[in-house]
Amino acid sequence: MKKTVLEICMILFASCLLTLGYYGIVGEPNREIVCVSEDLEPHHVCMQTVIGDWGGEVQWVDARTRKEWEKNGIEGSVLLTDDAKENFNDLLNASMEAIFMASQQQQKVVIYCNGVACGSSKAVHAKLIEQGIYEEIYILHGGWKALSQELAKETSVLNQ
């Protein structure tokens, strides 16, 4: 019995050493948002498409909370969220002119919330399409996580 316990402890210790070694050589595991355009639901878009094909020249819609938007929302973005603390009609009224101007400049509109499963982008997207002003409105796959990864890459390039 004692021998078995000792063997299990040794195996666990060896596993920990291997994991640490792997981490030291290969580095942190890749937690990047994986996005394949062909696999996306309709009206969803990958960050690579926004940056690459559209040149990043889009009208951003932030569907997170006001606090998050004020903290680090993308410059030029408008706040439009289904957060229960907000009056949605007021936010819609405040953001629709920006959506209309984007339509006049043939600019796409891209919505982001916190992550892949936050749900707010989908609700806001449905509401914007329902207004019938513009159809080129998309949901960013991975939301803020995908955006912040891109921002981190840009910062890293600028610092080099």
């Binding site: 289904d82 229960a84 603390k85 949605f88 009609n89 009224n93 006049q104 989908k122 609700a123 509401k127």
Partner: protein, 213 residues
Amino acid sequence: MTLSSVYAGLEFKSLSVEQTAKPEDSVMVFSYPFTNTSEKAVTIGRFNAGCSCLEVKDLTKKTYQPGESGVIELDFALGTFTGKVEKTMYLWYEGVKTKSPSFVLRATVNIPVLFEVEPKTLKWAKGAEADMKIIRLSAQTDNSVHISNIICTNPNFKVELVTKKEGYEYEFEVTPLDMEKVGFGIIKFDTDSQVERFRRGQAFMVISRTSKP
């Protein structure tokens, strides 16, 4: 009853629930019944919602013995949004330190509108005829609701309120004045509804370079 989802001991009837709200609802309760089908006691530890609108109603009882059944209830605050909203609640068993939750509960609610506004946006093409166009508002309730105030944000649009059936059906007759410039306007209206999210409404008007009437 078909129990469909097992997560390390807890077997849920369903992890996803969809409901339709009544116009007067401000909070809706979502219930997720489950049974511990494992041979060990299971304790629910922490939880985290994807938004401030969703809360676990009562989790004073966290540990469930083998064979014991229970219900997780979520309070969904509806706010002022209308339409379909889907939110998620992430839950972890006690002692689970991973970023990925032990299980995820989905709550979908369909929140009705008080007034159906059609169309929601009136469109004209720049340079076209300044035709008068109509937005129709029809109350989606048995109780009458009145439009008490109208504001048009752009003086280039002349807006008139026409009462078709007091408390139930209204029209906005909208005529643009200058068709030579691109323009955007909002018709904001107040109602005498007792429900906060129905006290204000809006419709939009645009004169665009390219327009699909």
